[in-house]
Symmetry: C2
C-alpha cells in the first residue's frame, strides 16, 4: 500500500488529532465527542449554525471548511462511512446559538439515515434543525433529488455560510443552500481507485490505460469505462453530460470549479480548466468565479471533476463572500 | 499514463493559459514572454521586486505564489527544467520598480546558470539584481550552500515578501531571505515517481512496497530505499536526519511545514503532522506556525516532506504576514 499511515483502523482519530494540533487557533474537538470538529470563531452575535459532514477520506472536505464565516462544525465518519447519529446530535448542541442549525451533506443513504436521527435527537431537546441534501452529480440520476453530492458540497456550503453571516434566519439560510444546490452541476472522471487504509486494497480495479466517466467519489459506477483520452476530449465529454441537464444559454454567468480527486496534478487540473473556459467562452457564457484544486477528494484517487454553477446576483455575491477556514480563504 | 493532459509537449503552455484564465484578477503573462507570470497587484509604492521560479511540475510552486504581497513574478521552465535566461531577464524588466529585484529559486545547476545569465542581461540595462539560492534539503549535502531547494522555497519567499512589503531595501530583503533559508531544514520520502508528460513514463522504478528516504523532488537519489514503514516511523527517521543538523534545543520555537508531493492524501499528511507535533512537544520545542498541504509537488509523486524552520521574532512575524496569492492566503 502506497500510503503513509500507521494502523489502518486509527487513521481518522490520528488525522483529527493532527488536524486540531495543526490549527489550534481555528478548531477544536468537542469535549463530548471527538468526531465533532468545532470552529473557534463562532459568531459573537447569534446566527444560524452550519454543520457540514460525511465520511472521511475526502479531505479537505469536510473538516477543512470549518472556520471563520464558513462551517461552524464538521461531523466526521470513518472512511467512506457516515458519521453516527450521536455525533450529528452533538454538533447541533455545540453550535446552536438559538437560531437553529442547518445540516449540509451529500446525498448518500447512510448519511441521510444518521443525520436524520441526529436531528431528531436534537429536536427532542428543543433544537430546530433543517437539512439540505447536496445533489450535484448529474450522472447519478436524472432526478435532482436522487443525485449524489460531490464537489458541489463546497459551493452549497459557501452560499449557506454567506446567508448565515448576513443574519438570515434558518428558513432563509436553508433556501439559500437549496438555491445554490439547484444550480450546481458536477461530473467527474476517475483513472484509478483510492486505497482503503484498513485493507490496503483498492476499491475497484481499472486497467492501466483506462478511465471511467461519471464514477462517484467512493467508486460508484459511472457511465462508461474506456481508454484514457486527451484532457480536452475528456472535458468535452463531461460537458456533454452537464450541458443538456443545465440548459446553459449564451449571456448567462457561471462559477467553475475544477476539483482534483487527490492524485491528479494541479497541472492537469489547469489544462482541464482551460478547456472548460474556452468552451464556455465560445458558447457566450461568462465565468464570474473560478476555483481549481483538491476541494473534495477520494484520498489518492487519480481523477477530477468539473462543476458548473449557474449564477444570479445573489449567488455570485455569496460565492465571493469572505471566508477564512484553513482550506477556504478568500 | 494516468494523467489528464493533451500533447505532452504542450503541458506547460496549456497550464499557463488555463492558469491566467482562472485567475484574471491576480495574474497575467508578460506581453513579451509567455513564460513570465506577473502579478496584477504590483505595489503602488515602489518596493523591491521578487522573482520566483524554476521548472514546471511542482505546482502550485512557483506560479501559485504570485500575487498580492507575495512574489511579483514567476518564471516558468519546462517540466523539471530551468526557465531560460531571457525569461529571467524579462521578469526583471517587468517588476523592477527602481528598487532592484531579488531572484529566489532552488539550488539546481540549470537554474543557477540561467538565472545568473538573466541577471547579467538585466544588469547590462542598469537593473540591480541579487539572488538567494534556496538550500533546505538536509540530505543533499552536509554543506548548506550545496544543498538543493525543496519545500523550503515557500518559507524563504514568505520571509522575503514580508521584508519587501515592509519597505526594506534590496540588501535587507536579500538578508531576510538568506536568514530564512539558513534556518530552514527539510527532508522528504518518496513512495513513487512522478509521470513525465512527454514520455508517459516514470522517472524511476520503485517496488510496490518500497519507499526512498531523502529522495529529491525530481527523483534525485536519497539515503536509503526500504520497505514502506508506518508513518510515525517514517517521520522519526526524517527527524533523525534533521535534528543533528539543526541542533534544535528545548525552549526554541519552530514553524512546521508538511508538504505533500502530489498524490499523498491530506489524511496521511495530518498523520505525519501529528507525529512531528508530538515529537517536538516531547522535546520542549514550541510550534508557532503550521502549514500542511501540497505546497511544492512533483506532479503525481506519492510522498511527502517535513520542513522545520527555526524561528526568531523577526522570522515569526514574517511568516505570519498577510499574503494573498491564489495558493498562499493568510
Amino acid at each position: 500500500m502506497k500510503r503513509l499511515i500507521n494502523d489502518g483502523y486509527d487513521v481518522v482519530e490520528e488525522m483529527l488529532d493532527g488536524y486540531v494540533k495543526a490549527h489550534p487557533e481555528d478548531v477544536r474537538l468537542s469535549d463530548e465527542n471527538e468526531r465533532v470538529v468545532i470552529s473557534k470563531h463562532l459568531s459573537p452575535t447569534p446566527k444560524v449554525g452550519l454543520v457540514f459532514g460525511g465520511g472521511s477520506g475526502h479531505e479537505p472536505l469536510f473538516l477543512g471548511y470549518v472556520g471563520k464565516g464558513v462551517a461552524d462544525a464538521a461531523v466526521i465518519g470513518n472512511v467512506n462511512t457516515s458519521p453516527d447519529p450521536v455525533t450529528c446530535y452533538q454538533a447541533v448542541k455545540e453550535v446552536d446559538q438559538g437560531k437553529g442549525v442547518l445540516f449540509l451533506y451529500g446525498n448518500y443513504q447512510g448519511d441521510v439515515i444518521n443525520f436524520d436521527m441526529g436531528a431528531e435527537m436534537a429536536a427532542d431537546e428543543g433544537h430546530r434543525v433543517e437539512t439540505v441534501l447536496i445533489t450535484d452529480d448529474v450522472y447519478s440520476s436524472t432526478v435532482r433529488e436522487e443525485r449524489r453530492g460531490v464537489a458541489g458540497d463546497v459551493i452549497v456550503l459557501m452560499a449557506a455560510a454567506a446567508a448565515a453571516n448576513a443574519g438570515k434566519d434558518l428558513d432563509e439560510v436553508k433556501a439559500a443552500a437549496a438555491h445554490a444546490n439547484d444550480n450546481t452541476y458536477s461530473l467527474g472522471v476517475a483513472l484509478s481507485s483510492s486505497t482503503l487504509p484498513v485493507t490496503g486494497n483498492k476499491i475497484f480495479e481499472i486497467g492501466e490505460d483506462e478511465m471511467e466517466v461519471g464514477m462517484g467519489i467512493h467508486g460508484e459506477p459511472g457511465i462508461i469505462r474506456k481508454k484514457i483520452e486527451p484532457a480536452d476530449q475528456v472535458v468535452d465529454e463531461i460537458l456533454s453530460h452537464i450541458f443538456p441537464d443545465m440548459d446553459l444559454k449564451a449571456g448567462e454567468e457561471v462559477a467553475v470549479l475544477i476539483n482534483g480527486l487527490g492524485a491528479l496534478p494541479l497541472m492537469d487540473q489547469y489544462i482541464m480548466y482551460r478547456r472548460v473556459h474556452d468552451v464556455l467562452t465560445e458558447k457566450g457564457v461568462k465565468i464570474a468565479k473560478s476555483m481549481v484544486g483538491d476541494y473534495a477528494t477520494s484520498m489518492d484517487m487519480i481523477g477530477g471533476s468539473v462543476t458548473l454553477v449557474r449564477l444570479d446576483e445573489t449567488l455570485k455575491e455569496q460565492l465571493n463572500a469572505p471566508f477564512a477556514a484553513p482550506y477556504l480563504k478568500q
